[in-house]
Amino acid sequence: MMDVGRHPNVELMSFSEVESVSGFVGNFHVTVRKKARYVDPSECTACGECEKVCPVAVPDEYQQGFSSRKAIYLPFPQAVPSSYVLDMENCLGNNPIACGKCADVCEKECINYDDQDELVNFEVGVIIAATGMDVYDPTEYDEYGYTRFDNVITSMEFERLICAGGPTGGHFIRPSDHESPKSIGFIQCVGSRSKDGRGNPYCSNICCMNTVKDTLLLCDHYPGVEAKVFYMDIRAFGKGFEDLYIRSKEEGVKYIRGIPGDVVEDSQTKNLVLNVENTTTGKIEKHELDLLVLSQGVIPRRDGAQIKQLLTLSSTSDGFVMESHPKLKPVDAPTKGVYIAGCVESPKDVKDSVTQASAAAARASILLNAGKTKIEAITSNVDIEKCNYCDVCSKVCPYNAILSADKKTNKPPTIIEAACAGCGACAAECPQDAISMRHFTDEQIMAQVDALLSVDPHKHLIVFACNWCSYAGGDMAGTSRLQYPTTCKLIRTMCSGRVDEKFVLQAFRLGAPMVLVSGCHFSDCHYINAVHWTQKRMDRLWNKLDRLGIRADRLQLEWISAAEGQKFAKVMRDMEEKLKQVTEEEIEYTMKKLEEEAKKEEEKKAKKAVKRAKVTQDQEVNA
């Protein structure tokens, strides 16, 4: 951290928050709020005189509340910059009842009670998001008695208690009587790998090895202490991890395969009794311990939604940030010019975080050194003649790549092609058909529908498949030699968000008995959240079909990932079964009804065009 702080090419902005990010790859405009420290960091020498005279004491967050800090304090010993900060919420201040003791003793006169937040604007070419994670709060697991029993602590609290720089100077004591505990238990997977609705279903990755390390520390500092670890599985998969695990067992640490059902406190001794089913022996065991450590899992940052919104990042089902591609672009965010590193992407240890950070830095420097970047060939394009400035497109765009239209100033929507990823959601949602996607224009897709249904349309099943998942799922089914009906005719779009209502209606109008729209699972969407628009559009389409007296179940929707070849084949077989239930009469009725609708729509459009032409003519005459 010190090296970063001193590096001539790095401007470190600690105690600051990103307020807004706009622009696109190579041209990001960032606004950062530098929070008021009330202490000038360039003058402060961290002599500590101010802290000595400060009369306020509040719990120290860094020490997990085990000790107190003053209102003017150094956040943690190795803080960079090494400067004090004044916590104005707790400071008595110098007005109206003067305290001002810290300012009195500060020889460098670097304390300023009138300091204000400062907004700093700057331009950057690329952004790396490395915002880290939070730890799980185990109070939800009431049976373990965290916060109810003094001697139940978390692994973070354990770290502070055993640390030489901690509140006890490294003397490991238990909170109830400040005595050294003789027997210590660790419960693994608290808030991780949970299926009962509490905590999270994923593995937090780091807790097993953290506990192994903690047990080794205990055995090293306090020989003779009895340590027991209650676990589901010990995941020691990294380099040298298995050796550490074996060493821990050789040191006498007992690993008991079973998660305790409940913890009871002895009111006299404050010792804890754990009831656990040892799944290796199949027996119920009781263990009396002096201290219990809950190995808490990690969770995405609590303010993660704000970060994702600022950088238009997409989220996995776990709430972490999704990478652009798990194998080929593991440090790229879906938004061009944004990279991710560390636990913002998934729980990981220091080594993996450093590896990913190095990769992200390398990716960023490639882009910066090249000075130019290739943009998507498939981008959207606005026909200003057709646009009525409704601004639907800019609201739909997952990448904020469309600058809003303004009716008052006659400003049409502007597409930032460098930021457009080509999902096509804007083109599908535009009520005026004023947006076209290059290489996936309405005409091109309609021509495919027409061609596929030109012969025996009632025998064909039209499938709109997204490029990244469903179409690849079809490939997977093919390469896995899975059989599925040949009646399915696939039309590829980059995203299911591109599937316009009129493509589906055209298929039905031409006599298709069944239509399937398929795309990526929500957590796999390659265009951040473009699939959300597919879902909304499908709801609208089902309602419309219902209104017209057409069976809604003739239009189906499936999310199929690239790995789900089996699902792809099954869905096609199910669709084939459904297809057999569609009668000739139904198809004829549908074709007739939709033909009428299309005529009505055309008449409406013609009327609108005449009206618009008249308005333009009047405006010209007035001018």
């Binding site: 699972h521 929500f522 957590s523 959300h532 879902q535 909304k536 499908m538 709801d539 089902w542 309602n543 809604a552 179940d553 239009l555 189906q556 929707l557 499936e558 999310w559 199910d574 459904k578």
Partner: protein, 48 residues
């Protein structure tokens, strides 16, 4: 808009079930019976 209770219908197997719908936070729908994603949010019936 706050999430509201709605009726969902699976268009693959016909199973109907109650669920919550949030227009601002659309989530993936899966039929609890047949695991199909063709789950339609049925329009609310208007009170007469």
């Amino acid at each position: 808009m706050a999430p509201r209770p709605v009726l969902f219908k699976c268009l693959m197997c016909g199973h109907e079930y109650d669920g919550m719908y949030d227009a601002d936070n659309v989530t993936e729908r899966t039929c609890p019976k047949c695991r199909s994603n063709s789950v339609r949010r049925l329009p609310a019936k208007k009170d007469k």
